[in-house]
Amino acid sequence: MLVPEAVGVSGKEPSHGYQLRVVQEVLLALLAGEASHGYDLRARVQLALGPLADALNAGHVYVTLNRLEKAGLVTSERVGQADRPDRKVYELTEPGRARVNEWLADTSWPKPAPAEFHLKLVAAAAAGLGDPVRLIDGQRHALLAELAAAQRAALAEPDGSVAALLLEGVVLRLQADLRWLEACAQYWTSTKERS
């Protein structure tokens, strides 16, 4: 069966495209259990994100659902409500279900960032544009500020929070990046001393 490509994926910016696709596919997957409406889907994603829920723009869920409908991955039906405007209830189509299964089996992963920063240091040193060690210090300060924010948010989560697990992932990645920056600092410090 031909599975329609997810919409709105830009080949130019892999990480951006990856992140956009995730929202689409999360919504599809949440609809695999039962039909639902935008507000409920948004609330479920927000709960999983906990303190990181501001990553999800409220309007984005509705825009994405419209796109998924145009792409034939979901269908919608207007359902009347007492005292309130109608709401659209979305249901997964067969191609939508195939897309979800493909997503679940997909092992692609966001690429770690070091290559760009590594090349920045090499180029800056080669062109005499600046001291790589200072660039490393600046980068470390930025990552430490992110780590501090993620750490504080993680410590504030109650026991058994599912969002704490996501924060743990953010913290561990930042920790790994900071350790790599330390290795960079040692290399470029000794290079400076040799020259």
């Binding site: 992140q19 994100l49 303190p51 990553a55 430490l144 993620a150 993680a154 410090t189």
Partner: protein, 252 residues
Amino acid sequence: MSSSESPARVGPVLRTRALDKRYGHGDGEVRALEGVDLEVTRGETLAVMGPSGCGKSTLLHLLGGLERPSAGEVWVAGRRVDALSEKALARMRREAIGFVFQAFHLMDELTALENVELPALLAGRSPGAARRRAAELLEEVGLTDRATHLPSALSGGQRQRVAIARALSNEPIVVLADEPTGNLDSAATLDVLRLLERLRAAGQTLVIVTHDERIAATADRLISMRDGMFVDETRLAHGSAGPLGDLVGLEG
């Protein structure tokens, strides 16, 4: 003492000037610290990071009066301590400093409660006051139900929480911690992090030497050391950072 010294309550809690520490002699001489100038203000949490052998533990030992500098000055609460007699230095440590070590250094034959009350007794508190304070501190670190346990009956994380309670027992001017999570797994590290964050919020002055970026990120200020010198310093905001969602950037 020079007349320009600020009174203890408004000046820095800790201060070093041109601090040097060398080990060995002649060709075998190692300079562990070179010309370190440091000020730690009241209520500040300072983290010191750097590769093994960069001098960070030596710095902590000099600040706490566990070792003496080869040259330079160490001031604790407005009082110069590097030239004190052994006896006066020991008294300064008992009264002004709380120590936390990577290997806990609890007394194996004493219960958790007895370990915690020991520094208060050594600092001259009455047995009753020391016992009450120890019980309060064990409650603060969530180990009231382990008060009568020997260290051997406690997990690593619990032992370190007892060690932190012990470090607070003499109501120290500053707590000095050397790799407090170095021997702990991830869950126990989180418990210690929560505890240190509570101390920070309560205004306890803390100096933490660590390899652990997670601990460093909870500090107010972070100093990086290399080859016995400070090479970088940064302040970490504890107010609201940017939107947390930027950390995962779901929409790029």
